[in-house]
Point group: C2
Chain length 371, copies 2
């Protein structure tokens, strides 16, 4: 094995063999065990020896084979991401960013990401279970968390570490990273009120998602602070088409809103359509504000005023948090992080051009005119 020029790096079959811990042992004159302990920071290794081992390891380009470590330590150095595939969820415009954040943060510490998809319900248990059983993942990142999420219950039972992108109802023993969606909505509504709006409607998303409730609370808080009665909350608007319908309904009311805040951008863009259909102008007659920061929003006319989230940073933070949790270095409650969304001002909101009553009148006139 040992040659004059050092360690053999190329096998007889021509394939380049990896540098193993045995090579390091031969090169340093120590045993495998000692090298291993030196690299893993055991206290019973002399400081000089450790330094020497590390130098040699660096020179030879040694990289421990994660699989081999796993069979003894039980840790695969892999994070798991299990995505729910439900029917009404064709849009995950940020998945790429999110994955980029997770994988680069994990990769910089030598960890990788294992992705799986699971149907809702029983199938999901199986997927999580087999990933844990096969040690393909040491812990999980859960995104798009529900208020009561079956994944959470299951992982809790199995005592498998996990972190949440978003929050859920019962937060005991849970680590999470989330965006202050409630604060964003509150500040946004406040902004509209300061502009002069009084009749502000709110259009939510799926009730099963936790973020829906947080953002709604933010809206209600801002209205309450201003002493306004939040009359119009439309629930469960999940997509573009839903946004069209909800907005049509709102505009058909006796007292139409002069501003509409949407929990998701898609719904807001649907709102554009309904507003234009009614012969009104987005941003002047009816102000629109939303949340997410999808690219389509910037292309819309007028560009959508919306709260943007740094999805990539979220992914990176979650990866780091999960690794900490897996290592057991921190209590779950110590690993919680809240970040702020940032408002990107387009042209879709502004001071109301006319009062709600005048809006009603304008729509009635137009209806008469075109008929």
């Amino acid at each position: 094995m040992q040659t004059a020029t050092g360690i053999k790096r190329v096998r007889a079959d021509g394939k380049s063999a990896r540098v193993t811990i045995a090579h390091l042992a031969a090169e340093t004159g120590l045993t495998k065990g000692t090298v291993s302990r030196a690299l893993n920071g055991y206290p019973d290794i002399a400081e000089g020896t450790r330094a020497r081992v590390e130098r040699v390891a660096a020179r030879l380009g040694y990289r421990p084979m994660a699989q081999a470590q796993a069979i003894r330590t039980g840790r695969a150095k892999a994070l798991g991401l299990v995505m729910q595939v439900s029917e009404h969820d064709g849009h995950s415009p940020f998945l790429t960013d999110f994955l980029a954040g997770v994988t680069t943060a994990a990769g910089s510490q030598g960890w990788t990401l294992t992705v799986a998809t699971a149907p809702t319900g029983e199938g999901m248990r199986d997927v999580l279970h087999s990933l844990v059983e096969d040690r393909k993942a040491d812990g999980f990142i859960l995104q798009r968390t529900l208020r009561q999420d079956p994944r959470i219950e299951y992982l809790r039972d199995m005592q498998v570490p996990f972190v949440l992108y978003g929050r859920c109802e019962d937060l005991t023993g849970i680590s999470y990273y989330d965006i202050r969606g409630g604060a964003a909505m509150r500040a946004g509504v406040r902004r509209l009120i300061d502009m002069g709006h009084r009749d502000i409607a709110f259009v939510t998303s799926g009730c099963e998602y936790n973020y829906t409730h947080l953002r709604t609370e933010g809206f209600l808080a801002a209205m309450a602070e201003a002493g306004l009665a939040p009359t119009d909350v439309v629930w469960d608007v999940r997509d573009h088409a839903g946004g069209v319908r909800a907005t049509r309904d709102l505009l058909a009311r006796e007292v139409p809103p002069t501003a509409i805040v949407y929990v998701i951008d898609q719904a807001a863009l649907g709102g554009y359509r309904a507003i234009e259909e009614a012969g009104l102008t987005v941003g002047a007659d009816v102000s629109v504000m939303a949340y997410d920061g999808i690219p389509e929003g910037a292309y819309a006319s007028p560009p959508l005023t919306t709260w943007k989230v740094d999805t990539r940073a979220a992914g990176a933070a979650l990866a780091r948090m999960l690794i900490e949790r897996i290592k057991g270095e921190a209590e779950p409650e110590a690993l919680r992080w809240l970040a702020d969304a940032t408002l990107h001002i387009g042209g879709s909101d502004g001071p109301p051009a006319r009062t709600s009553a005048h809006l009603r009148q304008k729509m009635n006139n137009q209806k008469g005119g075109t008929t």
Copy 2:
């Protein structure tokens, strides 16, 4: 170890221990080695013995630990997916579907998916390299392939198995799954010609992507077959904003097109805007057809006529192909597959309401009218 009720499954610390091959050996009265060979189909195991081992394995719920297998076999039973993260690529609406296809197909054979992201250029080499070195992936799926893709060169050099979603210029020794985008465009243009269109423009996407060229060839073929001169091909339109600009330019020409075919949906939706700005009606004055099938297209008004791709099926097929390649069961050239896109007819195309000349006239009149 052996108890009256069978094998101990729970360790003293309360953690449920996995069933190892040693358990199987004890239960069957054979040795570890024999059990291993029985499960892996070695020819020197009696048929009866193999059947018995398999029954016991099934009863005990034995699942070999992939990591342990990997250190001897050198195979981690993991597929790799390395995504390029470039700046101008915020849209991967199908990533979820694609991942769902890959992971479910891989999972059904006991394989998992390791995802990594890499910047373009040198960083990508490093990511691929370390994934291979660390045996975190036995092979790779490359999506969004370029005509000349550095990833391909590198993996070829490293002799690492890989499959392509899409094709590239030099196909020797390459396995791929692709959609017949050229055929789709050709049939689509043919449809427009049959409807009566003669002035048809074509708006492409990024030149570095191979699909751009294939679809353009389809367009040119259809035009040539009909004996029409394809005057208007606009290159390198990558997104919504680009679609707006390109379409404005096309409509400003002396002989404006009565139909525009876009290589990607996003650009087509940008085209909607430009067409409406010009005072024209999508589907009547100017027909629009595109390719991808993004959800926003169905919500547009009129709904976009576009070629839809079954991304999930593509992912599943690629996973199966890659596993075959890794196992070395088939020659690369034998693993190639082409699927068809399906046309989803919205209301954005139809017989031309007026000729190109009349279109010009109408636009000129309107410009005069509003000025």
